[in-house]
Symmetry: C2
Subunit: 238 residues, 2 copies
């Protein structure tokens, strides 16, 4: 059992996943923690620009990373970047190790909370890149649970999401957090009861500004971390 | 250029190094960040117990990790665990990629600060495991700069250092931080003008309690991160 992390998109989101894997693991000593190898090599063409038709495809770099992780005989691969899941099927086809889809991990987390609280899933605000919004992974899964998805409008994407996301990539977490907090507020004002943070740059930024919206948010990165811990607990080694 | 991190000792110290590499890198976008692959596999026999003669040697697991990192053609290897440097020469001999010694990285940082402040290096309090204290890496380097090293006494090691360090490994950062902050206070009370945090579990713990002693501390993990960033800036790829 060895979790392979195809990271670097951005590097801080990868560190955030590694941190959350540790936080989610019940451990009394070093050796109880999940074994992970993280490929945190950010020299991968920009995913948002590729999908917008303004940049080269990241697929060759992603395939090279999958190949490197498989050389280490990883048992599973996770990708702490929602947008990169656009190439999920190509990567899964090229990998001996199975890939865990971040939207599946997030849905498992949403289902569990909804079940435990005995509430119905109603309006969910989705914070994600244009690429992730267009792909429909989250909207389809929420609809199957009877939930309705609210997405940012184009003006909100341009004013809040895109500059917030790229601020995180420059290390300006506070600045990014202020922008993304305002986007969260807009979705809540329009009736969102829950938010799903479906871009891995978002949770560190909202945390940096201590956003009150974190309390009603599902964090896709934390959900992916929980999926890794569950695989570790299921394995013979744990 | 690809930094290989031989991590997992503990896993949180590895994440702390990755975070500090990002913080120390001037970057305007993902692709400007240092490419890193982190072997964060904590199933390595306890280093402190091995050196105390009460546990098995971690050397075979460390050599296996070095071999895995070399399979990925890393250009340098760093180890965010001071105590594991006991096996540094064996690992360096087995590695095609050169290893950067954490005490060398820390000394470069100390030298630079001393030079910039125009002060003399006088009494330095050293916070480290028994194994690191006994090895003398730091004391010898400080003496060469004219500095005198203060180390914790055996009672302080047993009361503060060892339980503080193992609390971090259990994820109890606050509890660990309180203990390690008291150790820092003891060394300052005995005349230390600077502290060197030469165990990678210590900086996250002191940060968790917002210890005032961080202001007079050299953080070996951050120094190692700076050494990685310098290698990246020196390379053609940066």
């Amino acid at each position: 059992m060895l979790i392979g992390v195809l990271g670097g998109m951005g590097p801080l989101a990868t560190v955030d996943l590694l941190q959350k894997i540790i936080e989610e693991t019940p451990a009394a000593r070093d050796q109880d923690h999940v074994p992970v190898v993280a490929w945190n090599v950010p020299q991968i063409p920009d995913r948002q620009r590729a999908l917008a038709g303004t940049g080269e495809s990241p697929l060759p770099a992603l395939l090279a990373a999958v190949s490197q992780l498989n050389r280490l005989s990883v048992s599973h691969i996770v990708i702490p970047c929602n947008t990169a899941h656009h190439w999920f099927d190509d990567l899964a086809a090229a990998s001996a190790a199975p890939l865990i889809h971040i939207a599946d991990a997030t849905l498992a987390c949403v289902k569990s909370v909804v079940k435990n609280q005995g509430t119905e899933l109603q309006k969910i605000g989705l914070i994600a890149t244009h690429g992730t919004l267009a792909a429909g992974w989250y909207q389809q899964r929420f609809a199957a649970l009877g939930g309705e998805t609210l997405v940012p409008d184009e003006q909100e994407m341009t004013t809040f999401f895109v500059p917030g996301c790229y601020a995180v990539k420059r290390g300006e977490l506070h600045q990014g957090g202020l922008l993304l907090d305002r986007l969260a507020q807009r979705l809540v004002d329009r009736g969102a009861q829950w938010l799903v943070l479906a871009c891995t740059e978002v949770p560190p930024a909202l945390t940096a500004v201590n956003s009150p919206y974190l309390d009603i948010s599902f964090d896709a990165t934390r959900a992916l971390a929980q999926a890794c811990v569950q695989e570790w607990q299921r394995s013979d080694n744990a």
